[in-house]
């Protein structure tokens, strides 16, 4: 059983650059957890603190039952795959992979045996005598993974492991990484800024922003039930549309500069109970907007601004007053910039957020 626990982990660089701010996280045994967030949100620093490459300013890190705050990086029994792979270019692939074992003074026969097993597992036996300069991006990534798994670490730490690969290879490798983790059954913490990658690989995702974990949950939890404005905007592609509205109790409607939208009773009840004021933000995913050529009940008039035909779907930019919102339509939908489109929101899937606290109400 190897769990990783972070208790009130804080890392401050210099005098007041807070990179990680009071983070609590419990990674279960054999779980694949992804720290997701934009650049500078503190996810890599968190990972480096777990690895022992950064010293936390405060808080505790447990690997298994052991408090590792004062344990050196090499004695934590963690392995890390770096964004740039960090292979040593002057060593052959086999020397790169066997390095962790050599450092532990493992007998040569054992090293040879485990090197062979690792190379077979990662299908790279033919690469062993090459140097990193002769490898493609995908091969280099496999070597970095090989170096990480060869000594059976308790925890895998992956720092943007797919960021340096081209788009096609990334799609392939994210499945490979997940499969490898399942096969080895090692507790894994991965860092990425790519939400698709996170959703594809993770058991649970921790969305980070400004050094804090904003929400922790499964991919679907985060997508369907974002707890605040940041998570709602970060998860999903294209991102969620946000429209500033005022809730009018008498009309049971959301009023914006350009529309008045009646909302179901269950929503009005939620707003009444949880909103701190009548100022709210309406969040609608582009996939939850349907377009019509004619006016429909509870529909809003917009003007088509631009179209992005993507093959499997089309993204339509719509002018709603002064703002542009995005809607996703089937690829067969035909329209042109300047046309009028009547849009209808799927009221069962809209999100209502408190403008003041930026927390989700519904």
């Amino acid at each position: 059983m190897v769990e990783v626990r972070l208790e009130k982990l804080t890392k401050v660089f210099g005098k007041n650059t807070v990179a990680v701010d009071n983070v609590n996280l419990h990674v279960k045994d054999k779980e694949f957890i992804v720290l997701l967030g934009p650049s500078g949100c503190g996810k890599t620093t968190t990972l480096r603190c777990i690895a022992g490459l950064e010293t936390p300013t405060s808080g505790n890190i447990y690997i298994g039952d052991r408090l590792v705050n004062d344990v050196s990086e090499k004695d934590r029994d963690v392995a890390m795959v770096f964004q740039t792979f960090a292979l040593w270019p002057h060593m052959k692939v086999k020397d790169n992979i066997a390095f962790p074992l050599k450092m532990r003074k493992v007998p040569k026969d054992d090293i040879r045996k485990r090197l062979k097993e690792t190379a077979e597992l990662l299908k790279m036996s033919h690469l062993l005598d090459r140097v990193p300069g002769q490898l493609s991006g995908g091969e280099a990534q496999r070597v970095a993974l090989g170096r990480a798994i060869i000594r059976d670490p308790k925890v895998f730490l992956l720092d943007e492991p797919l960021a340096n690969l081209d788009a096609k290879l990334r799609v392939h490798m994210r499945v490979e990484v997940r499969k490898l983790q399942e096969k080895l059954g090692v507790t894994t913490i991965c860092v990425t800024h790519d939400q698709v990658e996170a959703m594809a690989m993770a058991d649970r995702i921790a969305v980070m922003h400004q050094g804090k974990i904003r929400q922790l949950g499964t991919a679907l939890d985060l997508y369907d039930k974002p707890e605040d404005l940041f998570v709602a905007g970060f998860m999903g592609s294209p991102p969620m549309n946000f429209i500033d509205c005022t809730y009018e109790e008498e009309k049971k409607a959301l009023i914006s500069e350009v529309f008045s939208l009646e909302i179901p009773k269950n929503l009005t009840k939620e707003i009444k109970e949880h909103a701190t004021s009548s100022e709210i933000i309406l969040g609608v995913r582009p996939q939850d907007i349907s377009l019509h050529e004619k006016q429909m009940p509870n529909s809003i008039s917009t003007e088509v601004y631009a179209m992005e035909p993507l093959g499997s779907e089309a993204i339509i930019d719509l002018k709603l007053g002064d703002m542009i919102i995005k809607a996703v339509t089937p690829p067969t939908y035909r329209t042109r910039p300047g046309d009028t489109a009547w849009i209808v929101f799927d009221m069962n899937r809209i999100h209502i957020l408190d403008k003041k606290t930026e927390k989700a109400i519904v």
């Binding site: 890390m80 740039t84 960090a86 040593w88 270019p89």
Partner: protein
């Protein structure tokens, strides 16, 4: 066919026939300059070599000969004992001094540069700038203080005086630091994480990665030290400790002229040869080191 679009009349053909002529002209110019450069570099060595095969009279003769009338290889045999101390001793002294100096310089400079490039410690930038500022001092200014230091240490007229003072060099530290800065921290972090000690990182990762830089810097300094005359002249009295340049200088007789010019030339060939061999051995790394001192990951 190369063609351009003409606004009035569609496509038209450019003066394609000019292109090969232009290419030939540029190449001719390029190779002419390179050939002149190569000849002017090789000519002194050639002149030195053929002079050692000539008689002193032929060397001093009014008519210049590009190949000796009667090539005589005896000078190369006689040169062996011609120098004071004998040539083997002189070469051994120079190898010992320049080799130790270069090794110490590379070791000390790379350790200093690694610390300055990759460790964050209080006063690090200040130390770096102090080291850099010493580069601004002309060497001649530090000559007398350096001799005084040698006197205090009791190192005058010893090998130490020839090896130690030059083995700390701000310029080398600067070059290596700049090279090491280009190596991503992750390369060192990975080594640290997988169980390498701090000295292990320096020995197993830093030094091999810096090989091109070390080769280039090593060669430049080895040659510089091998050819140095002023410092050995000041600190060495004992003829048994003479380095190549001091020994060659001893060939001037008291009237200020050089007798046996063919022997002098043969001695100089012997003295120059190790440098040429050393350059050839390190040429692979040298080219990389001289053409761009930066780390390449893959």
């Amino acid at each position: 066919m190369n063609s351009d679009f003409c606004a009035e009349g569609g496509w038209f053909i450019t003066k394609d026939w000019l292109r090969p002529i232009r290419k030939i002209s540029v190449n001719t110019l390029k190779y002419s300059i390179l050939t002149i450069g190569a000849i002017s570099s090789i000519l002194p060595f050639y002149w030195l070599f053929i002079s050692s095969l000539k008689t002193p009279e032929e060397i001093m003769g009014v008519i210049t000969t590009w190949w000796p009338h009667n090539p005589n290889w005896m000078a190369f045999i006689r040169a062996w004992d011609f120098l004071r101390p004998p040539l083997p001793r002189v070469l051994m002294n120079s190898f010992l001094v320049s080799g130790s100096y270069t090794l110490l310089l590379l070791l000390g400079s790379s350790l200093t540069a690694y610390a300055l490039a990759k460790y964050k410690f209080r006063g690090g930038p200040l130390i770096f700038w102090i080291i850099i500022s010493t580069m601004m001092l002309p060497g001649i200014i530090t000559l007398i203080p350096s001799v005084m230091l040698m006197l205090w240490f009791g190192w005058l007229n010893t090998y130490w005086a020839l090896i130690i003072p030059g083995a700390v060099n701000a310029y080398t530290v600067f070059l290596l630091r700049q090279y090491m800065i280009t190596i991503p921290d992750e390369v060192f972090d990975a080594a640290r994480l997988y169980g390498c000690s701090e000295f292990g990182i320096y020995w197993r990762i830093v030094l091999p990665l810096c090989k091109p830089a070390l080769a280039a810097i090593g060669l430049i300094n080895f040659v510089w030290n091998w050819n140095d005359l002023l410092w050995p002249l000041v600190v060495i009295k004992d003829a048994n400790l003479y380095t190549t340049q001091l020994a060659l200088m001893g060939l001037w007789d008291f009237r200020g002229s050089l007798p046996h010019l063919n022997l002098v030339a043969a001695c100089t060939v012997y003295v120059t040869l190790p440098l040429i061999i050393f350059s050839i051995i390190t040429s692979k790394h040298l080219i990389k080191g001289f053409t761009g001192l930066s780390y390449t990951a893959r």
